[in-house]
Subunit: 244 residues, 2 copies
């Protein structure tokens, strides 16, 4: 039987909350990615299948809007479904709910499948039956957009380290969220709260590579970021803030 929408529970642990006791964006990103992993497994297109095919799912775009950041010890439920399956990209959406069923956040994401040897994108037609899970239901927020280049100011330079590298041999998608959200001070977060986050993953960052992060406020409270490596773009991101 095809179950198109499923929900997965998560707990907010001490290390998931920031100095104000609210979940970090990184922690929410972890929940979304874990949910995607679990659901892909439940649908038969998860880790196990990917290992068999010597392939991996790679996140290319993510957009997330947060109404309310969960607090330490809160339980949240992340609902997910596949919106569509195109030739090389599949869209997966999410709704984050509190324990009472109230929506506290929404997200949309685009994924491609890569070959682990060549690191090239593969045709999703090779995943027979995947299309049956597409239910054509849009996310409750605007889809992830293609972020444009920025000039920006250099905020930080750092190397990709052991703890950044995941089982796919590149920096984990959530680490980029950490790097971007680390561009602001705790004083900034005392005044401002995230409304919308989006990220475009462009080229993978590998162990030992030096990364530079640039930031530009292109309009009031609309911050853009670029992570560059050797002149190439690793990712672009956006944080739209609101006053608390």
């Amino acid at each position: 039987m095809i179950i198109k929408k499923r929900s997965y529970p998560f707990k907010v642990y001490s290390q998931d909350v920031d100095f104000q006791g609210k979940s970090t964006l990184m922690a929410l990103g972890n929940m979304l990615l874990s949910t995607a992993g679990y659901n892909a497994d439940d649908n038969g297109f998860g880790m196990k299948k990917m290992h068999e095919m010597n392939s991996a799912w790679v996140l290319t775009k993510l957009a997330l809007e947060v109404e309310q950041f969960p607090q330490e010890y809160e339980e949240v439920h992340v609902e997910t479904w596949v919106e569509e399956v195109e030739r090389i990209t599949t869209t997966r959406n999410f709704t984050i709910k509190d324990v009472h069923g109230n929506i506290i956040g929404n997200a949309g994401s685009h994924w491609v499948m890569i070959d682990m040897q060549t690191r090239r994108i593969k045709d999703l037609e090779t995943l027979e039956g995947l299309r049956n899970y597409a239910d054509n239901v849009a996310s409750l927020i605007e889809s992830p957009i293609k972020l444009t280049p920025i000039q920006g100011e250099l905020i930080d330079t750092f190397k990709v380290k052991y703890n950044d590298i995941d089982i796919n041999g590149h920096a984990n998608s959530v680490r980029y969220i950490e790097w971007v959200t680390n561009c602001f001070s705790i004083d900034f977060y005392r005044e401002k709260e995230l409304k919308r986050f989006e990220i475009n993953y462009i080229s993978e960052a590998l162990f030992g590579e030096s990364l530079e992060i640039f930031q530009e406020e292109i309009a009031a409270d609309d911050f853009r970021f670029e992570i560059r490596k050797n002149g190439k773009i690793a990712c672009r991101a956006r944080m739209v803030m609101r006053s608390r």
Copy 2:
């Protein structure tokens, strides 16, 4: 009724495993700290009580030995109990088990309570009833030791950032585990696996502070670390490795 030993379940998510698909030390550290938090709450001396008293639990020493690092999607159970309650320090032990009940790791930890205003250590006598939870059962491994100063070589310099700071306003204990384990390359981890880790937390690291990390191999496979800030010691750590 006083229940002296309890067990808490955790799942190993994608972001908890390293490039070899095994749980990172950081992820195990998160499980231990979450377990301590949950159990303190269950005993009535957790976050809620600490907030009321304008106090916080602070980890001062941790020793952890790992037999087998759990893999992605594995479920582990962390059993914990309070060994003893002294005047300023309490000892909490842990056993990490796989889903079949096999022991895959053991840990011991020392905690103090601080006043959130003065950041000074408080007498544990002020926590009436805490002593009733002490069951005098030692951990299955050698207790955390006091680590001695090292000379060492400067490995890295970095600043304490937004995502490092927890609800107590200082760098989260698990971040130090990240910093220490980041001193090695993925090639190193291909050959060596952690056998015993220990850490002494000496002075708290605050937002924006610059930290330096020093490393010295004092005997074969016995690595010592020191994280320093402005000439002060923030922590000392030790990683004893074994060949895979």
